[in-house]
Amino acid sequence: MNPAEVRVRLADAATALAGRVLDALRGAGAVGLVDYMDACPDEATALGAVRLLGADLFAPQLVADRLLDAREAAVVAESFGTYPPVIGASSEEQRVAAWRDWAAVRLLALFYGPEPDAAGVAPPDNAAAVLGRVEQWPLWSAAVARLSPLALPEVGGPVVAAVVAEPLALTRGASRAVLRRDYPTAARLARWTALLAHLGVELPLDPAPLVEHVRLRVGAEPRLLLDLAVARLLLGSEAV
């Protein structure tokens, strides 16, 4: 396979896995990560998809009380064994990947590690390095959107703290995305607004109609529906 074919396969596998997570959030049972691995003909691609979903694999556990079992956690650990977390990021894309990896490894260590590995869960950088200056809120919020897997309870850390501290910049970015009809970005930022509301942060707008407005327009892409399902569960909606 050439690199382009690899990327397509990986993206398809990640979309399928996101669909499983979405189903779990909607009450269809567990993610079934072991079944997913067994059903996938190409283990390397499947592990790559697990690695891409990262922290989102823990979403059913964190917002819908549907626990990953130990064997599923082992699959997540194996994905990071096969594809080690990004360390020493030098580009914007790598910095985003490093933070997403960090969130997944942190959750894995938090819930399933015998002892959290201090080196493995140390934040990759300071939040400003990946988010930029909050005064430049359109760029700042775009970076926040790319880090939407971190918008989960228990993730914490410098990026979440930085976003929690800037509800106005966050909601400006979300409003901008809606008005530009950039619904993928809007969905990711809507998830962040829901997290802040869940954490008790006072927001300058009501996140519930924002989430619903985006949900009605975002289409059928499972990873975006996953963002919105997380958002609705964080806001206490019964049906997602």
């Binding site: 809120w137 400006r172 409003s175």
Partner: protein
């Protein structure tokens, strides 16, 4: 950039825009046989009123140099002559007592010292009768502000304010282009074009302060410069004015060498008359924006 750089941008923007309105004023004149019926009120009547508004605010603020004040006075006098020194407005109000445009137009002249006693008597009576055509809520505020400026009638400002889109403070992402203009005009009238910043209720002030950067950003991206100019005026009208140097520089960079400011991102084409027709409103907006920004900066509000 600093406040002084915004002041320089605002001064240059409004000076050149006012000069363009003055140089092209005859293009906006009424046809020779214009009566109180007007036919199409939007063709010359409305633009003449807008030019009178801009010039009246230059005179009210007094922040411009003597040459600009003279230009503004000439423009007010020119438009007043076009209104046959108020007679056209009087005849139109007499003939159509429910219309609000004679009052709204007259307010710009009353602000500049041109009065018409018979018209004011008539406007007082109309206000007492309290019967006017139905208008959208922000336009109703325009009537209230005109009443206040002329000194007739008494309006229920709180209920009129809450009837507007802005008065409801809806989700900031649930706005469209036309509603953007409803927001700008609500602020213009509540604050009497920046003269009464505290006329905007505190919750609405906070709301506008929070979301104005978003609206300026998204309508700048699509080159809706007329609306962006009005939103910059909104920023100037706030109790703590928003005077972002980058936003002002972006609008100023669009101004043509002759002072005209284009309404949108489309190419500027056509005859001089067509250019006036298409871009007079935005050039009025630029005049008002620069004038009010400079005034508030000089008065130490920003």
């Amino acid at each position: 950039m600093t406040g002084s750089s915004v002041a320089r941008i605002a001064h240059d923007l409004s000076t050149a825009a006012l000069d363009w309105l003055h140089a092209n004023r005859e293009r906006g004149a009424f046809p020779a046989d214009t009566g109180a019926d007007l036919g199409d009120p939007d063709s010359a009547y409305k633009p003449l009123g807008e030019t009178a508004l801009a010039a009246s605010l230059v005179l009210r603020e007094g922040a411009a140099g003597s040459a600009q004040l003279r230009t503004a006075r000439e423009l007010v006098d020119f438009t007043w002559q076009q209104m046959r020194e108020g007679a056209l407005l009087y005849e139109r109000q007499l003939r159509y007592p429910l219309l609000t445009d004679p009052l709204e137009t007259y307010a710009h002249f009353a602000r500049s010292g041109h009065r018409h006693d018979e018209l004011e008597e008539l406007l007082t009576h109309c206000a007492a009768v309290g019967s006017m055509v139905e208008v959208v809520p922000n336009r109703r505020l325009a009537v209230a502000n005109a009443h206040r400026t002329v000194g007739v009638g008494a309006d229920d400002w709180p209920s009129l304010t809450r009837a507007t889109w802005l008065g409801q403070t809806p989700p900031p992402w649930a706005i469209d282009w036309m509603t953007g203009y409803s927001v700008t005009h609500t602020v213009f009238h509540l604050t009497d074009w920046g003269a009464r910043p505290d006329g905007l209720p505190a919750d609405m002030t906070a709301y506008v302060t929070d979301w104005l950067p978003v609206w300026i950003d998204i309508w700048s991206e699509v080159g809706q410069w007329d609306l962006v100019g009005e939103l910059l005026i909104v920023g100037v009208c706030l109790p703590r004015p928003r005077l972002d140097a980058a936003e002002w520089a972006r609008l100023a960079a669009l101004q043509h060498a002759d002072g005209m400011v284009p309404r949108d991102g489309e190419p500027v084409t056509g005859s001089p008359d067509q250019r006036f027709l298409n871009h007079q409103h935005t050039t009025v907006v630029a005049t008002v924006a620069g004038t009010l920004a400079l005034s508030r900066l000089l008065n130490g509000a920003a």
